[in-house]
């Protein structure tokens, strides 16, 4: 049995958004398309997520086990204190997804993902395009609704079929006005592929460069020259807002091999401790974005100034 500190850090994703924004649908989609990952979904106190009955293999008290090995648990008051216990599960879990309650600040919940044993992967906030502006204008809860948007690394627009297309674009520009350039993607009617939220482990084996499910695009980028860690960070910071996720391994000139994770506007560069890191001067970054994202050519510029 290894100690917690020596283990791989388990990615930790927070899903936020006001009541009715579609968290239940999203979580069920994620569990349905887990692609072999063992996901632990943590339902926060006063949560609104209910797991579809056809997914449930068994449930005992506050924990549900799914046929595909995923689990869903409510930690209620011991939410916080019991979170590290998820790291001791056998077989081990691959990922934690926490549903933040509809009024809470998902950025605060995300702080648990910074604790030892976890890696905060990202804060994804769902936005009901039909109701968001009304909630944000509400004198009572408006400030907290806006705070949720401000704390997002990635926004997912939901309930798109309920409003006209030009209203959706109005919501997009309203979001840009109130919270700035947060990467923002649409939730497809037939469900969001977990790849979009959970990174690109899932798309391995698919044809890179081509369109993937639901109108998302993925492309593979290779640094054009040896690059320092700082320069890599600047390159990631400059990615267009159509980019939703990136993941890669790059050999940096000053910090050796590193792993890159980007979720919306959150980026993390951590040492690559894998058995076969990329050799010096090489690296690969897979990028996933919305349909508007260009192909490889869109990412080729910029390396030279950085190095």
């Amino acid at each position: 049995m290894t100690t917690r500190g020596a283990r791989r850090r388990v990615p930790f994703t927070v899903i936020g958004g006001f009541l009715g924004a579609g968290k239940t649908t999203l979580v069920n989609d994620l569990l349905r398309h887990a692609h072999g990952e063992r996901i632990a979904v943590v339902v926060n106190d006063m949560g609104e997520v209910s797991i579809d009955a056809d997914l449930i293999a068994e449930h005992d008290g506050s924990t549900i086990t799914l046929a595909n090995g995923c689990i869903c648990c409510s930690l209620s008051d011991e939410f916080a204190l019991s979170l590290p216990d998820l790291l001791d599960l056998d077989p081990p879990i691959d990922r934690v997804v926490v549903e933040a309650s509809g009024i809470s600040d998902p950025g605060s919940v995300a702080q648990y993902g910074t604790l030892p044993g976890f890696r905060l992967d990202g804060v994804v906030v769902l936005v009901d395009v039909e109701t968001i502006r009304g909630h944000a204008a509400d004198a009572r809860i408006g400030p907290q609704v806006l705070r949720q948007l401000e704390r997002a690394d990635l926004l997912v627009l939901t309930k798109l079929d309920l409003v006209a297309a030009h209203d959706v674009s109005e919501v997009r520009s309203w979001i840009a006005d109130v919270v700035g350039p947060v990467p923002c993607t649409d939730a497809p009617r037939d469900g969001l592929d977990p790849s979009v939220l959970f990174g690109l482990d899932h798309v391995a084996g698919r044809d890179p460069g081509g369109p993937i499910d639901h109108g998302f695009r993925t492309t593979t980028v290779r640094p054009g020259a040896p690059i320092s860690r700082d320069a890599l960070d600047r390159w990631l910071a400059g990615l267009p807002s159509h980019v939703i996720r990136s993941k890669g391994r790059v050999h940096t000139t000053d910090h050796g091999p590193v792993v890159v994770h980007v979720v919306g506007r959150r980026r993390a560069i951590t040492p690559d401790r894998s058995a076969s890191p990329p050799p010096p001067g090489t690296g690969t970054i897979v990028v996933i974005g919305t349909g508007e994202m260009g192909g490889d050519e869109a990412f080729e510029h910029g390396w030279d100034e950085l190095t």
Binding site: G47, H59, I64, D77, I103, Q111, T114, L115, L120, P143
Partner: protein, 557 residues
């Protein structure tokens, strides 16, 4: 047959029954009050044993704390290091550490008392706003020990300060967690804000996890008996969906050795399988079906906002004097409406934590709307804490049949801060406006919110009657209430809002024989002396339970 009736004589019995306000004797049979009056009126019931144990004492109805938490019993597993002196379960005064130097000296003594050098020192109750000048840091705590991990958990339960040994053991300098307070060089100062940052301190999680155990019930009972309290609510019970909590309450409270009535109000935390308010209501009814004379699931507790001193109580205009934001809703108003309506329609008494006037509006609105569609007039839904309730709000509460439970202890523990830096003088003067509640016809109780402040209804009464602050200010002289009204609040008033006034709250025929046994009559001592009245102990269901220093434990089986 003889001796199944006990008649207690007393110096005076203050009954809180207006039709028979004072008496010399009370007869008890089968744990209940058979009669109250002069001895010659009680002998009509036949053979009896005359008990003079309380001949020099004053009996009042068993005092009811209608807003406390099991945590009050749990925290005493660790040393208390707060600014205000506080009695531990053995009756000894602890804390009273008024400067950083006194705190550090005391921590050094505690450090020396631990033989295992690897054992962390975890202590609680600190309120740094009372230290003039310096903010407590790791450097201060390092003077107590540079090698042992020290964690000082603040009274707010939202913050902790740790020493350098702890910062290093938790690698806290490298943490990315928000809430790690840092100096101008980016080094952690030792202060950790909110739970995630506190969990970086290695001793924190095991200490907090250890709090949920049977012993906390027994310690709470010892504290309650010593304070003269016979019924305690647990106003954030997890029993709805935590079978362990429900089982522990049943096992312990129903033990004949357990000297308290225990009234859990359940917070409706959901889980993956229980998702809606109807399911919560159904589960509550299952729990309530297990109610006994001692363990009584009273209703549902909802939390609508935060605290005034944390600037998270949600305020109407003009808000906080500092210009801080309006506060934080813990549940959106529409959601609050839905929950209140569902539980109301299911016949469940709802207690709503609401401190700021904006959230109090929402709580009243929710009950108003529920009543428009479902006429349950005797609901007794209660605004808990009720700190900034205005006269207009009390008038609405009265018309709607709502109760208030006022956090009177705040006047003493934070009154000066409210005056100077949260809501400002005028609203500080009408904080915990008990006189207004009474004038406008709202039935109310007074509470400690233990462990936030110490359990003890004499102290809480004293706060509402005198409204003094530590600086010597009278905070709102026009909101002072009489000792009678204060005693009424912690007996009949509390019983009423728990729907237990038919069996608790006064000393009259038919009710449980629960008494608080005092050295003096709180209605006739000088008001400033109410909190200093000696407590002999309690009588619960006719059984005397003397105050003392020995732990109380389960019946051995």
């Amino acid at each position: 047959m003889a001796a199944n009736i006990t008649i207690h004589s007393a110096r005076e019995i203050v009954t809180m029954n207006p039709s028979n306000p004072s008496a010399s004797h009370v007869a008890v049979r089968d744990g209940r009050i058979l009669g109250v009056g002069p001895l010659d009126e009680l002998t009509i019931w036949g053979d009896h044993t005359l008990d003079h144990t309380f001949a020099d004492h004053v009996l009042v109805p068993g005092m009811i704390e209608a807003h406390a938490h099991l945590l009050e019993g749990a925290l005493w597993a660790f040393p208390y290091v707060g600014y205000f002196p506080r009695r531990d379960p053995s009756g000894q005064w602890q804390g009273g550490l008024t400067t950083i130097e006194e705190l550090v000296d005391h921590l050094a003594v505690l450090d020396a008392s631990l033989s295992d050098p690897d054992q962390a020192l975890f202590c609680w109750g600190l309120d740094p706003i009372y230290f003039d000048g310096d903010r407590l840091t790791a450097r201060h705590l390092d003077r107590a020990s540079s090698t042992r991990q020290i964690v000082v958990f603040h009274a707010s339960l939202h913050l902790a300060t740790v020493n350098t040994a702890c910062l290093e053991a938790g690698a806290i300098a490298d943490a990315e967690t928000e809430g790690v307070v840092r100096d101008e060089h980016g080094r952690p100062t030792g202060e950790l804000q909110e739970v995630p940052a506190m969990m970086l301190a290695p001793p924190m999680t095991p200490a907090l996890k250890s709090l949920r155990n049977d012993q906390s019930y027994w310690t709470l009972a010892r504290l309650a008996v010593n304070a003269g309290v016979t019924t305690v609510t647990d106003l954030a019970s997890q029993a709805l969906f935590n079978q362990g909590a429900a089982d522990a309450s049943a096992r312990i409270v129903n033990d004949p050795a357990y000297p308290l009535r225990f009234v859990p109000y359940c917070t409706p935390s959901f889980g993956p399988t229980v998702q809606d308010d109807d399911a919560v209501a159904a589960r509550f009814h299952e729990l309530a079906a297990t109610n006994t004379d001692k363990l009584h699931y009273g209703g549902i507790k909802l939390i609508a906002d935060g605290s005034i001193q944390g600037y998270t109580a949600v305020m109407n205009w003009p808000g906080y004097v500092t210009g801080a934001p309006q506060g934080l809703w813990q549940v959106p108003p529409d959601r609050l409406d839905h929950m209140v309506r569902t539980y109301h329609e299911a016949g469940i008494n709802v207690h709503i934590h609401a401190n700021g006037d904006a959230v109090i509006d929402a709580a009243i609105d929710a009950v108003d709307r529920a009543l428009r569609t479902h006429a349950w007039l005797d609901h007794r839904h209660t605004v808990q804490h009720c700190q900034l309730t205005s006269a207009a709000q009390y008038r609405r509460m009265a018309r709607l049949g709502m109760c208030g439970n006022l956090f009177a202890n705040h006047l003493w523990f934070w009154g000066d801060q409210h005056y100077a830096s949260t809501v400002g003088p005028e609203r500080a003067h009408r904080l915990e406006a008990a006189a207004t509640a009474k004038r406008e016809g709202v039935r109310f109780s007074l509470h400690s919110d233990a462990a936030v402040t110490p359990l003890g209804q004499l102290h809480t009464m004293w706060c509402a009657v005198n409204r003094l602050t530590p600086s010597g200010r009278v905070l709102g002289e026009h909101e002072r209430i009489s000792a009678y009204d204060a005693l009424h609040a912690v007996t009949v008033g509390a019983a009423y809002q728990l729907h237990l006034d038919h069996v608790l709250g006064s000393i009259e025929v038919g009710k449980h024989a629960d008494f608080t046994v005092l050295e003096e009559n709180p209605l006739t001592v000088h008001p400033i002396a109410i909190r200093d009245i000696g407590v002999w102990g309690t009588v619960l269901g006719g059984v005397p339970r003397p105050a003392g220093s020995d732990p109380i434990g389960p019946t051995s089986r």
